[in-house]
C-alpha cells in the first residue's frame, strides 16, 4: 500500500514538474526570439549635445586647495602601473571647472564657498527631510556612536567576479588619515564592512547585519548587484547613505547622498560623447546587472539623438570568460566600433578577444581607467591593444592624469600609505568613495559639538552647499528631498596606454 501511495504521489509530482519544464521551455524559446540582436529604440530624455568632436578641449584642474580635514600632502608618489603617467596635467588651455565649453552643454556653477555652510545662493537649506531617520532608531540611543567612536558601515563585493575591496580600503584610508590627525570633533571613525559576494541576497543580509550593528550611516559602498535594492531598504530603515556606484535607487530617497552622477546620466554622457567621437555602427555591450536597463536606455537614446544606430546590443554577465563569440557577432553584423558599459575585468577579456581576432575598431567605454586593469588591457597584445586609442568619460578628475593636483595627490598618497597593496587597484569608482568619505567627515565636522546621530547627520548633509573637495568633482550641494548633485563628466582618451583628459566638465541635466 505504501509503495502504491508513493508511486501515485511521485507520478503526480513528475507530471507537475514536467509542466514546469514546459514553462521553462516556453520562456526560453520566447526569450530566444526576443533577444535577437535588434538595437534598442527605447527613448528617454537625453541631453542634447551637438558640438562637433575634436574641438578644443579643456581640462578642469582646479587650483584651489582641498577642503578636507587634512591639508598636508606628502609628495613623491606616482603610480607604478604601466599606464601611470608622470605627474603631469594634460596640456592645453586650462579653465576652471564649469566653464561653458560647448553649445548646448549645461554647466555647473564653479563658485567655491565655504564647505558645509548654508549660503544664500538660493539652494535649499531646509533641514527637514521627508523620511525621518530617528523614527526607526531606538529611543535615546545613538546608533553608531559609542565611546568617542563613530561607526559607519559599508557593503562591498569582496569576493566573486567583481572586486570592490579597493573601495572599502579607500574609505578606511581616509578614516585612518582623519583619525591620525585627532579625529573629527573628538570622534574617531570606524568602518564595518560586509561582503555582498556579487549577490543580491547576500547584500540584503549585509544590510540587515549593519542595521543590527547600529551603524550611523552607510559610507562609500559598492555592491554591484545589491545597491539597487538595498539603497531602498536601508533608507526605508532610516539609515543614511553617502556615496555609492550611482544606481537609480540612490537618487530616489531623501536619505541617500550620492557623490557621483547617476549611471543614467553617465549613459547619456557616453552616448553624447559617441556622437562627438564620430562613432559609427557600434556594437554595444552592457553588463547584465539589475540597474542596467535605465542606463542602457539612456545610452541608446543619447546615441540615437546623435544619429548613431548600434548594429548589435549584447548584455553580458560579469563572469563571462571569453568574448570571442561576441566579437565574431559584431564583425558579422558589420560593427565598425565598440561601445561598452561593463566592469573593468570584463573589459580586459573583451579587449583580449578583440586583440586575438586582430580587430581594432574605435572603443568607447565607461570606467576604463583602472591602473591594474589597464595592465591587463595591454597584456600580450603588443602595440595593437584595443585599449590604445580608447575613449571614456569620467565624473571625477582622472587620477592617472592629475597626480600633482593636491586633492588627487592626497588621495593617492593616503591610500598608498595605509593600503599600499590597493594602490594599483584605484579607479574612478574608488574615487567616488573617497569623495563620499570626505563628504561624511565634512558633515560630522559641521555637526560641531551637537550630539552625533542620524538626525544631526542628515541635517548637516542637507545643509552642505557647494562643498569643494579640491576639484575632484564640481562642488556638491544637497538639500531637502531627493538628491542628484552632480551631472558633469570629463572626456578622457587613452594614448598608448596613458589616459589623458581631453575636456573640461561637460554637464548633463
Amino acid at each position: 500500500m505504501r509503495e502504491r501511495v508513493a508511486i501515485v504521489f511521485m507520478t503526480l509530482n513528475v507530471v507537475a514538474t514536467l509542466g514546469l519544464g514546459a514553462a521553462i521551455a516556453y520562456e526560453f524559446g520566447h526569450l530566444g526570439r526576443a533577444t535577437a540582436s535588434a538595437p534598442a529604440t527605447a527613448s528617454v530624455e537625453g541631453q542634447a549635445y551637438t558640438s562637433s568632436p575634436g574641438s578644443s578641449s579643456v581640462t578642469g584642474t582646479p587650483s584651489s586647495g582641498s577642503a578636507s580635514p587634512a591639508q598636508a600632502v606628502s609628495s613623491g608618489a606616482t603610480l607604478g602601473g604601466p599606464t601611470a603617467s608622470s605627474a603631469n596635467t594634460s596640456s592645453g588651455t586650462k579653465t576652471r571647472p564649469g566653464t561653458k565649453t560647448r553649445p548646448g552643454t549645461k554647466t555647473r556653477p564653479g563658485t567655491k564657498t565655504s564647505s558645509g555652510k548654508p549660503t544664500s545662493s538660493g539652494a535649499p537649506t531646509s533641514t527637514g527631510t521627508t523620511a525621518s531617520p530617528a523614527t526607526t532608531t531606538t529611543q535615546g540611543a545613538q546608533p553608531g556612536v559609542s565611546g568617542g567612536v563613530i561607526t559607519v558601515g559599508g557593503i562591498y563585493d569582496e569576493t566573486g567576479p567583481v572586486d570592490a575591496t579597493v573601495e572599502r580600503d579607500t574609505v578606511r584610508s581616509y578614516f585612518n588619515l582623519v583619525n591620525a590627525q585627532g579625529g573629527v570633533n573628538g570622534h574617531k571613525l570606524q568602518l564595518i564592512d560586509c561582503d555582498s559576494k556579487y549577490d543580491p541576497s547576500s547584500a540584503h543580509q549585509c544590510a540587515q547585519k549593519l542595521i543590527s550593528e547600529g551603524v550611523l550611516a552607510i559610507v562609500g559602498w559598492l555592491s554591484l548587484s545589491g545597491e539597487q535594492s538595498e539603497a531602498k531598504f536601508l533608507t526605508d530603515q532610516g539609515v543614511p547613505i553617502i556615496g555609492g556606484l550611482g544606481v537609480p535607487a540612490e537618487y530616489a530617497s531623501p536619505l541617500s547622498y550620492p557623490t557621483t552622477p547617476s549611471l543614467v546620466t553617465a549613459g547619456t554622457a557616453l552616448g553624447t560623447h559617441a556622437g562627438q567621437m564620430g562613432l559609427k555602427k557600434p556594437g554595444v555591450i552592457f553588463l547584465n546587472a539589475n540597474f542596467i536597463q535605465p542606463v542602457k536606455d539612456s545610452l541608446l537614446a543619447a546615441m540615437k539623438k546623435q544619429g548613431i544606430t548600434p548594429v548589435d546590443v549584447e548584455q553580458v554577465d560579469a563572469t563571462k570568460a571569453d568574448y570571442t563569440d561576441i566579437v565574431l557577432k559584431f564583425q558579422a553584423n558589420g560593427a565598425q566600433s565598440v561601445a561598452a558599459f561593463v566592469d573593468p575585468f570584463s573589459y580586459a577579456r573583451l579587449f583580449q578577444a578583440m586583440a586575438r581576432q586582430n580587430w581594432h575598431p574605435p572603443v568607447l567605454g565607461g570606467g576604463l581607467d583602472k591602473a591594474s586593469a589597464n595592465a591587463q588591457y595591454a597584456s600580450g597584445c603588443g602595440s595593437s591593444c584595443a585599449v590604445f586609442g580608447a575613449d571614456s568619460a569620467t565624473p571625477v578628475l582622472e587620477y592617472l592624469d592629475h597626480q600633482s593636483t593636491p586633492a588627487i595627490a592626497q588621495y593617492l598618497n593616503t591610500v598608498h600609505t595605509y593600503y599600499p597593496g590597493q594602490y594599483g587597484q584605484l579607479d574612478a569608482y574608488s574615487t567616488y568613495q573617497w569623495v563620499a568619505a570626505q563628504v561624511f567627515v565634512q558633515a560630522i565636522k559641521d555637526i560641531g559639538n551637537a550630539p552625533v546621530n542620524r538626525q544631526s547627520l542628515v541635517s548637516a548633509l542637507n545643509n552642505l552647499h557647494n562643498y569643494d573637495n579640491g576639484g575632484i568633482t564640481p562642488p556638491i550641494s544637497y538639500g531637502a528631498g531627493n538628491h542628484d548633485p552632480l551631472h558633469c563628466f570629463q572626456w578622457i582618451h587613452n594614448s598608448n596606454g596613458q589616459w589623458k583628459t581631453t575636456s573640461g566638465w561637460n554637464c548633463f541635466g
Binding site: 509503495e3 508513493a6 511521485m10 526569450l31 541576497s201 535594492s229 547584465n288 586575438r356 600580450g380
Partner: protein, 660 residues
C-alpha cells in the same frame, strides 16, 4: 529561435568550440590518469591546476621571471601538491570506499581554493601568464583568428593524451600502472611497488594539471574558482572516455566544446550551452555506464557500504538530552540580538538541508551534491509567487515543496542506474545545470528573478506575525523539530529498514520483495522535499531570494559539512546548520576573516574522513552510549555491533558480497 540564427557564424563558432574543447581536454587528462591508476576521481584536480597557475603568476607576473620559469615552478608545485595529497591523505585510506577518497579530494578542493584566495585574492583581477602570444593565424575557410596560445593548448592536450597513452601501453612502468589499475593486490604479488606507482600517477597527473592551469588561465577568469569549475566540466569529457581512455577523452572534450558553443549561435543565453552539456552528461552516464558495465562493477566492489541498524539508546537519557537541547534552543536566542536570532533561524533552515542529506545519504547511501538546487526550487517558487505575483506565503510554500519533490524524483530516475562516483557526477551536473542555465539571468527570469532578487516579507502563522526575529526563529525551530522527528521515525520504521536494506544491497533487498525503484525515488523525493522546504523558508528568513545563494559551491559546502558532522544521525542536522552559519560569523570576531571558513571546513573534512569517518555527531553519540549504556531488555542479548563508517568499510572487514 532557429530561424533567427545567424548560420554564417557556424564556421567561426566551430573554431571556438574546438579551442574550448582543447581546454577541456587539457583539464581532463590529469584527471583520467589519476583515476585510471588509483581509482580516485580527483575533485581537487582543478584546484591543483588553479593553485599551480597562481604559483606561475607569483613567479612570472609578481616576481618578474620569464613565463617559462613560471611554468616550471607551477609544474613542480603541482607535482608536490599531488604527492602530498596521495601520500598523506589518500594512502591512509587504502581499502576504504572510493567515495571516502572522493570526499578527501573535496576537502583538498576547499583548502586549495581558499588558500589561493587568501594569498592572491578571491577576485579575477589577475594577469595570466602568457607562455605563447595570443596573436595567431586565420583559420582556413573562416574569418576566425586562432591565437597561438589556443593552438598550443590543443597541441599540448593532444600530445599529453597520446603521449601518456603510449607510455601506459608500451613502457614497463606504464604496464605497472595498468596492472595497479586493474588489481592492486595482484600487482603487489607480482612485485610491483603499488605505493610508488600510485604516487607517480598522482605526481604526473597533478603536474599535467599544472600545465593545464597555466595554459588555460588566459582563456578563463583567473580566479580561485573558475578553473575548478572548468575541470568539473571536463568530467563530462572524461566520462565520454569512460574515465580510462585518454584519446577518447580528447574526442569527448572536442565534442563537448562544440556542444557548448553551437547553441550560442541562436541564443544570447550563455547558459544554453550548459544545458546541452547537462544532456550530454545524462546521455553518457546512461549509455556508457549502464548496469553491468565492466567499470561500474569494479567501482561497486570498492564502494560496498553497509548501514547498521540504529543502536539502542538509553531512552530516558536520550529524552533528557533532547529536552534540554530544545529548552536551550528556545531560551538562549532570547538573550541574543535580533541579528543573531535571525542567524539562529538560518542555521535551522540550513539544518533542514543537512537533514535532507541524512535521508538520502545516511539512509539510502545515495550521495548528492545538488541539495541547494532542490532548495532553489522551493525558494524561487515562494519568491516568484509571493514577491512577483502577490500570492500568500503558505500555498506558495506548499507548491514549492511539491515542485522540489517532483524535481527530486526526476533527478532520481537516472540515478536509479548509478551509484557512488557516477551518482556524484550526475548530481554535480544537475547543480551546474541549475547554476549556469536554469537560474542564470535570461533563461527563466519570471522564476529566478533574473539579475534582480525577489523580495518578500515574513508571513503570519495562525494569526501570529512572524515578522519579529524571535517569532520567526521559534517558527523555524518548530518546523525543524517536526522534520527531525519525522526523519527519526522514518529511520526506525519499516520504511527505514527497507531503505537501509537497499543501501546495504539492492539485490538482496529486491529479492526480499522491496520495490527498490519506488523506494529510491521516494528517498530522492523526500530529500528534495526537505531541501525545498528549507529553500521556501529561507526566502522569508532573508527577505530576498537570488540565484547566488543556491549555487554549486553551497551544495558542496553543505555536503562537506554533513559528512563532517555525520550524515547518519538526525542530530547532525542541527549541529551542521549551526556550524555552517555561526562558523563564519565566529570568525569575524577573530583575527581571521570569514574567508578562512572553507579552509577550516576542508581541513576538518580531510582529517575527519581519515580518523573518524562516521562523523562527529555519531562519534559523540557512540561515546555517549558507552557512558550511559541502555538497560538490556534481555540479559543474554549481546552488545550491538559498533557503528561502521558512513562511506564504506575496510576491505578486510567487509563481507564478501558484491553488487552486480
Amino acid at each position: 529561435m532557429l530561424a533567427s540564427a545567424n548560420w554564417g557564424l557556424l564556421p567561426g563558432y566551430t573554431v571556438i568550440g574546438i579551442t574550448l574543447g582543447g581546454i577541456y581536454a587539457l583539464a581532463a587528462i590529469g584527471l583520467v590518469l589519476i583515476y585510471r591508476v588509483s581509482g580516485v576521481l580527483n575533485f581537487a584536480q582543478g584546484a591543483v591546476s588553479m593553485f599551480s597557475a597562481f604559483i606561475a603568476y607569483q613567479v612570472s607576473i609578481v616576481m618578474g621571471y620569464p613565463a617559462v620559469v613560471g611554468l616550471l615552478a607551477a609544474i613542480v608545485a603541482g607535482g608536490a601538491i599531488g604527492y602530498v595529497i596521495e601520500r598523506f591523505t589518500i594512502r591512509p585510506l587504502a581499502g576504504r570506499s572510493a567515495l571516502n577518497k572522493v570526499v578527501v579530494t573535496i576537502g583538498w578542493l576547499l583548502v586549495l581554493q581558499t588558500a589561493a584566495g587568501l594569498i592572491w585574492g578571491q577576485t579575477a583581477y589577475h594577469r595570466p601568464v602568457l607562455l605563447v602570444s595570443i596573436h595567431g593565424f586565420t583559420f582556413p575557410g573562416t574569418s576566425v583568428v586562432v591565437g597561438w596560445d589556443e593552438f598550443t593548448t590543443i597541441v599540448v592536450a593532444l600530445g599529453l593524451a597520446f603521449g601518456t597513452a603510449a607510455v601506459l601501453r608500451w613502457t614497463t612502468f606504464g604496464t605497472s600502472m595498468r596492472a595497479v589499475a586493474d588489481d592492486p593486490v595482484a600487482a603487489q604479488l607480482w612485485g610491483i611497488n603499488v605505493n610508488r606507482v600510485m604516487a607517480v600517477s598522482w605526481v604526473a597527473g597533478s603536474a599535467m594539471g599544472a600545465i593545464a592551469g597555466v595554459l588555460i588561465t588566459p582563456r578563463i577568469n583567473f580566479d580561485p574558482i573558475s578553473l575548478t569549475l572548468v575541470v568539473i566540466d571536463a568530467f563530462t569529457a572524461a566520462l565520454i572516455g569512460r574515465l580510462t581512455s585518454l584519446p577518447w577523452t580528447v574526442v569527448g572534450a572536442m565534442f563537448l566544446g562544440l556542444a557548448e558553443t553551437y547553441p550560442r549561435i541562436f541564443s544570447s543565453n550563455a547558459g544554453a550551452g550548459h544545458a546541452v552539456t547537462f544532456a550530454l552528461v545524462l546521455l553518457t552516464l546512461a549509455i556508457l555506464f549502464r548496469p553491468g558495465a565492466r567499470l561500474r562493477q569494479r567501482i561497486s566492489v570498492a564502494a560496498r557500504e553497509y548501514a547498521p541498524v540504529p543502536a539502542a539508546d538509553n531512552v530516558p537519557v536520550r529524552r533528557a538530552v533532547v529536552g534540554i537541547s530544545v529548552g536551550i534552543g528556545i531560551v538562549v536566542p532570547l538573550l541574543l540580538s535580533s541579528y543573531y536570532q535571525s542567524l539562529a533561524a538560518y542555521s535551522l533552515i540550513v539544518g533542514l538541508i543537512v537533514l535532507s542529506l541524512v535521508v538520502l545519504t545516511g539512509l539510502v547511501g545515495q550521495i548528492s551534491f545538488c541539495q541547494y538546487s532542490f532548495a532553489a526550487i522551493g525558494a524561487f517558487t515562494v519568491g516568484s509567487l509571493v514577491g512577483g505575483h502577490g500570492w500568500s506565503f503558505w500555498p506558495a510554500l506548499i507548491l514549492g515543496v511539491v515542485f522540489s519533490i517532483g524535481v527530486g524524483v526526476l533527478v532520481g530516475i537516472p540515478a536509479l542506474r548509478l551509484s557512488g562516483l557516477f551518482l556524484a557526477i550526475l548530481t554535480i551536473a544537475v547543480a551546474l545545470f541549475f547554476d549556469k542555465f536554469l537560474l542564470a539571468p535570461g533563461t527563466w527570469d519570471s522564476f529566478s528573478g533574473g539579475v534582480s532578487s525577489w523580495t518578500l516579507g515574513r508571513p503570519s502563522f495562525l494569526g501570529i506575525s512572524l515578522a519579529g526575529a524571535y517569532a520567526f526563529y521559534l517558527f523555524t525551530l518548530g518546523v525543524f523539530l517536526v522534520a527531525v522527528l519525522a526523519v527519526w521515525n522514518l529511520s526506525r520504521s519499516k520504511t527505514g529498514r527497507m531503505l537501509r536494506a537497499i543501501r546495504n544491497s539492492e539485490i538482496a533487498a529486491a529479492t526480499s520483495g522491496v520495490n527498490v525503484t519506488a523506494w529510491k525515488l521516494t528517498a530522492f523525493g523526500v530529500s528534495a522535499g526537505l531541501a525545498g522546504l528549507a529553500g521556501g523558508l529561507l526566502a522569508p528568513a532573508i527577505g530576498s531570494v537570488s540565484a547566488g545563494a543556491f549555487g554549486f559551491q553551497q551544495s558542496l559546502a553543505v555536503a562537506a559539512i554533513a559528512i563532517v558532522v555525520g550524515v547518519r544521525s538526525v542530530g547532525a542536522a542541527a549541529v551542521g546548520g549551526i556550524f555552517l552559519i555561526f562558523g563564519p560569523e565566529l570568525l569575524t570576531h577573530t583575527p581571521l576573516s570569514t574567508l578562512w571558513f572553507p579552509l577550516i571546513v576542508g581541513s576538518i573534512l580531510i582529517v575527519q574522513v581519515i580518523l573518524t569517518p562516521q562523523g562527529v555527531v555519531p562519534d559523540w553519540q557512540e561515546r555517549f552510549r558507552r557512558r550511559f549504556p541502555p538497560a538490556p531488555r534481555f540479559p543474554d542479548t549481546p552488545e550491538p555491533a559498533p557503528a561502521e563508517p558512513l562511506l564504506g568499510l575496510a576491505a578486510a572487514e567487509a563481507p564478501t558480497m558484491v553488487k552486480v
